[in-house]
């Protein structure tokens, strides 16, 4: 029997298609792009070796660091907007009541829509002419608060941030709901007998017991915030005046608008390193915190 499950032919035949597709379209391109990062190449002429010049140029480009700051902003509003909101809704929906499933359906719906649809929908809603937001403000007599939400450079990033929260909070709600369901009821009951109130229960039982899920959510927020592209690209393309530029948009513009493939590869690599460092760093930080609790 064991011989059959060690048969090299079967192992090869079973793994070969998946492995070759994955290596050919994911692993190998990444490795090769690592090398392109050291070349100056417009896609047509022969690549010219330039050493670390591309990387130096990326790291000293103010526009890139501005884009990086915007990514960090997205990460921060994701962590402090989506997770608390998701937690509140998860706690509210966790006790079984009529309609809980209906609300869960509604709150998760934005996650189902395609990001391009979300981007175009909200561009229209925030539109200064026909948009819902400005018309609503006018109808309730607050017309002076009406703005060109995506067209003013001081506002655009906040508007985009709001839409990101709208699209993704449902995911964190579900993740935290699943964690809440794993807390045994007896823990709460015995705490109540000891006279613990709502807030005490929240901070001393609920949060510590779902801490690993919150940590996973933070990591997800960081990963998501660092790679945001589709939504902002459809809503503002990074404008006005670079105010909503993100690293991925910067990379796209450099590579596909100005045909600097070597430079674009270098940017990809820098994004990869920055995101990974942040994720690993946050993991280390959070696991120390959970040890303290």
């Amino acid at each position: 029997m064991d011989l059959i499950f060690k048969n090299k032919k079967y192992i090869f035949l079973g793994l070969f298609p998946a492995l070759s597709l994955f290596i050919f379209f994911v692993v190998y391109p990444i490795i090769r792009s690592f090398f392109y990062g050291f070349y100056d190449w417009n896609g047509l002429s022969r690549p010219i070796y330039v050493g670390l010049a591309n990387f130096k140029a990326v790291l000293s480009d103010k526009v890139f660091w501005h884009a990086f700051r915007n990514n960090i902003f997205i990460v921060v509003i994701s962590v402090f907007g989506q997770i608390p909101l998701g937690l509140v809704l998860a706690v509210l929906l966790n006790d079984k009541f009529r309609g809980a499933k209906f609300f869960r359906f509604i709150f998760f719906m934005p996650m189902i829509l395609s990001t391009v649809v979300v981007g175009l929908l909200w561009s229209t809603i925030l539109n200064s002419q026909v948009g819902i937001v400005n018309n609503l403000l006018k109808n309730i007599g607050l017309g002076s608060l009406a703005h060109d939400w995506l067209g003013e450079s001081g506002l655009a990033l906040y508007s985009v941030g709001f839409v990101i929260i709208w699209q993704f909070f449902g995911l964190y709600m579900i993740i935290l709901m699943a964690a809440l369901q794993n807390i045994p009821k007896e823990v709460f009951e015995s705490a109540e007998l000891d006279g613990a109130g709502g807030l005490t229960k929240l901070f001393h039982i609920t949060l510590p017991m779902i801490w690993s899920s919150i940590m996973a959510s933070v990591v997800l927020c960081i990963a998501g915030g660092m790679k945001t592209f589709d939504l902002v690209f459809t809503m503002t393309q990074g404008g006005p005046a670079h105010s909503t530029d993100l690293m991925a948009i910067y990379m796209y513009n450099k590579t596909f608008e100005t045909y600097k493939y070597g430079y674009g590869s270098a940017v990809s690599l820098v994004i990869f390193v920055l995101s990974f460092t942040l994720i690993i760093g946050s993991r280390a930080l959070m696991s120390r915190k959970s040890a303290d609790l």
Partner: protein
């Protein structure tokens, strides 16, 4: 015994008082929040049935007459029919290819014993961590070299490659949980490995295959960034990319834009309505594990 009932009583008392006070506030909050979440989607649906003039006049008003011609215009004039067909071809082909390739690999990884097993498994798992954006430029160059730019195949192959880690991850853990005795019995009966896989393992894994297929379909249907860099010919665009064109071409025809967006979202909405639990659980599981 007496004490027990007393506590029981007190607990139920405090429970009722607590919920009674909280209930209206809780419902109010949920309804308010549900409204903010749902209204934009609802607005998209009913705006798609208004005339563009009505949209300009009053954003909130419900349609006075149902303008289904918006859909016809979007479908034909704005070429949503072409994009829709491309989306169907790409999404379905990638889903089928992913399943055909991932299932045997998952079977081997879960039931066979060989030295490289851990290494090969971890190649796929690390793949889940790679952000799509870091692969855009390298993958574009790869497709350029292969001459696959502006071909549907570029999307089918790359979507498959990107769906593999998650699919293998879910399928591997499912097939692992199938009892070895079933497979061993078939081996003793003299069945070939091909038959064991096709007639025993594959059918038994159908719940996991269904989950994987649904999730992959949703991902592929929504995908934008890879399509954006691979495709520039109008006749090869998928829905997200086609909708993106609207920004320039039809940016002031709001009712037609909304109709096009409803068409693009309808398949997702229908699947979500029918398979709510499976989708929610699958998506969150996948997100957390990666």
């Amino acid at each position: 015994m007496k004490k027990q009932t007393n506590i029981e009583f007190l607990r139920s008392m405090s429970f009722t008082i607590g919920t009674r006070a909280k209930k209206p506030v809780k419902y109010l909050f949920l309804i308010m929040f549900g409204f903010i979440t749902f209204f934009p989607v609802f607005w998209m649906f009913y705006t798609s049935l208004k005339s563009n003039q009505e949209v300009m006049m009053n954003t909130f008003s419900l349609p006075t007459r149902l303008h289904f011609e918006n859909y016809i215009k979007a479908w034909k004039t704005a070429k949503i029919d072409v994009y829709f067909l491309n989306s169907v071809i790409v999404s379905v082909a990638a889903v089928i290819l992913t399943t055909l390739v991932a299932a045997p690999a998952a079977f081997i990884l879960s039931k066979f014993k060989f030295g490289m097993r851990g290494f090969i498994y971890s190649i796929f798992i690390v793949g889940m961590l790679i952000p799509m954006q870091t692969v855009l430029v390298p993958l574009f160059l790869q497709m350029k070299i292969l001459g696959l730019l502006d071909k549907l195949l570029s999307m089918i192959l790359s979507y498959t490659a990107f769906c593999l880690p998650m699919s293998i991850f879910i399928l591997e853990s499912f097939i692992r949980s199938l009892p070895d005795s079933i497979i061993e019995a078939a081996v003793l009966d003299g069945a070939s490995m091909k038959r064991i896989f096709a007639q025993i393992v594959f059918p038994l894994s159908s719940p996991a295959i269904a989950t994987v297929s649904i999730l992959n379909f949703l991902t592929n249907w929504k995908e934008f960034s890879l399509a954006l860099i691979f495709i520039s010919k109008d006749s090869k665009k998928t829905l997200p990319l086609g909708l993106y064109n609207f920004i320039g071409a039809y940016s002031t025809d709001y009712s037609q834009l909304m109709a096009a967006m409803v068409i693009a979202s309808l398949p997702l909405m229908i699947i979500y309505l029918i398979l709510q639990d499976q989708i929610i659980n699958g998506m969150t599981d996948g997100a957390v594990k990666s």
